[in-house]
Amino acid sequence: MIAHIFEDRCTACQACVSACPTHVLDAGPDGAPRIARLDQCQTCFLCELHCEADAIYVGPDQRQPEAISPEAILASGHLGRLRHDHGWDREPEPGSTGHLHDFWQLGPLLREGAEIAARRYSERQASDRA
């Protein structure tokens, strides 16, 4: 669930207020938005992706809020990581076909995973019978 908005980084653009699909945030009158309906947070990380100032941190547990200090968030290095990985604000790596260079591998890797599971299962069945 959304855990913290860093007011010192926030530019009060309110982009996250509209980007949050489940209406968790309320616009701050002249500052950072307010977490108003935490129970509606679906832990989708999309507010982080839409915050150009990297001012939002979403905790990993969608069942309940977790206590984490701003210092610990900053020390973790996770702030802004997701936005960086999506590449929304940076040039793609030189020589690549863009930020989605590896995306085509999703299907083949998924099938390979399923084949590994199928092979392992039939080997186990065979050894059980032996």
């Binding site: 509606q40 679906q42 992706l49 973790s76 990985d85 260079h101 999703l106 998924l110 299962y121």
Partner: protein
Amino acid sequence: MTEEGIDLQADVLIIGGGMAACWAAIAAAQAGADVLLVDKGFVGTSGVTATGGPNHWWVAPEPGKREAAVEERHARSFGLAERHWMARIIEESWIALPTLARYYPFGGDGRGGTFYPGVRGPEYMRALRRYATDAGVRILDHHPALELLVHDDGSVAGAAGHGRLTGQSWRARAGAVIMATGGCAFRSGLIGSHGNTGDGLLMAAEAGAALSGMEFSVSYSLSPAWNSTRTLPYFAARFFDQDGRELDIPPPIGGEGAHLRALASAMLAGPVIADLSDAPDGLKPILRRIQPASPTPFERRGLDIFRDRFEIKLFGEGTVRGTGGLQVVDAHCQTSLSGLYAAGDSATRELVAGATSGGGAQNAAWALTSGRIAGAAAAARAKRDGRRLGAAARAVGQAGLRPAASPRPVDLKAVLPVVQHATIGYDDALWRSAPKLARARDALDGAWRLLADHDQGVGLDRGGLREHAAMIAAARWVTAAAHRRDESRGMHMRADRPATDAALASRLLTGGTDKVWTRFETPALQEAAA
């Protein structure tokens, strides 16, 4: 409605803001219509498209190839899909996806070409938003629809709802309306599905629309117990009980029912732990590059996804990766209501996937295709008949808006467990039986009566109330259809009727709010059963 509201009008009104809604809006605007799109959330982040990464059914138009793909998939549809619809979604996806290149950063296909079929959710929805805006579509974010407006002749005239950020009610009249509100995941916590509560199914059913295939709603996503993610990393997983004994779980592809039932049985007995160390070596270094959000919940808990073991859960997908939804009655994606079209997961996907899940290829291709077809048809209707602003239009929402008896507050927290038990509870859903379904029906009828008779929302509260009403209604249709279909077929698994009955190879319709009905689509079957 008491508070001050705004009046809107358009040629075509689209309700929803996922991929189906956007493709519909673009098609309608390109056909020359003035298009208004209202979404519950934000077009770009709301709905399961945004957090997903839909792969569209993709087959090149080479001799025999598409026919073979259709045959292969049709054979797994348990007799309920239509070959011409399947061929149509392959063709439409092939044509439409490349048109997104101005807005979506397609990458390579590893062989020097462009990779079109699979797209990453946040980028896909960002692209569709820009494409729609450039096409002239007016988008109203955070404007959930609460109910439909209907003409005296029964045709659909528009919708009414609430602006969550503005606090204003709205009422929109249009020459045609497209329902694209997605599926219903019954608040299971499934990634991206918080707003997917089946609102469109309820709104349409209140106006008299029929649904189809609601019994095909038994589908789950495996994820860590604390966060529903995409499932790519888990396909090669090994599973253990809490004492570290390895569990014998059939593989995830080719027998989904057996895989899910084995995992669910183990979970009913105690915690189940996953170990991903067997994942393909090629996946480990690039998971983050494919799906940045998949490793995130692990890293933020200090776990190494491919080394550390963790507890898992099955998140119910309901009709999202099930196939049930509004009945489609013609080649233009019209519902059984004149003037109301359906697109994406709010429509039945039996036409392209039958009794098995279309998630993985068909559902996205269907959402794109049904959106485009509905958009064009709605624009043509609006052009032909106009907006009919002179005709009276009545708001037809009931439960949560206009209680049947004296208003008093209802405890919504008590309602959800009843709904979830019946629809996504492992035992009730994966081992359906007549006695369990009868019990679920009675409990759900009670919940419905309580809400429909007494609850009345004001302002912002109306949204949450209608979501709960919609989930109860969807659960009642699921239960009624599962009860009526006295056999097992595809993802509809009846423990008391394990065999498939060749005589029941017909789609099953359901609907009604105060009184739920069911009816086989094939008339002969209907008479035989009566």
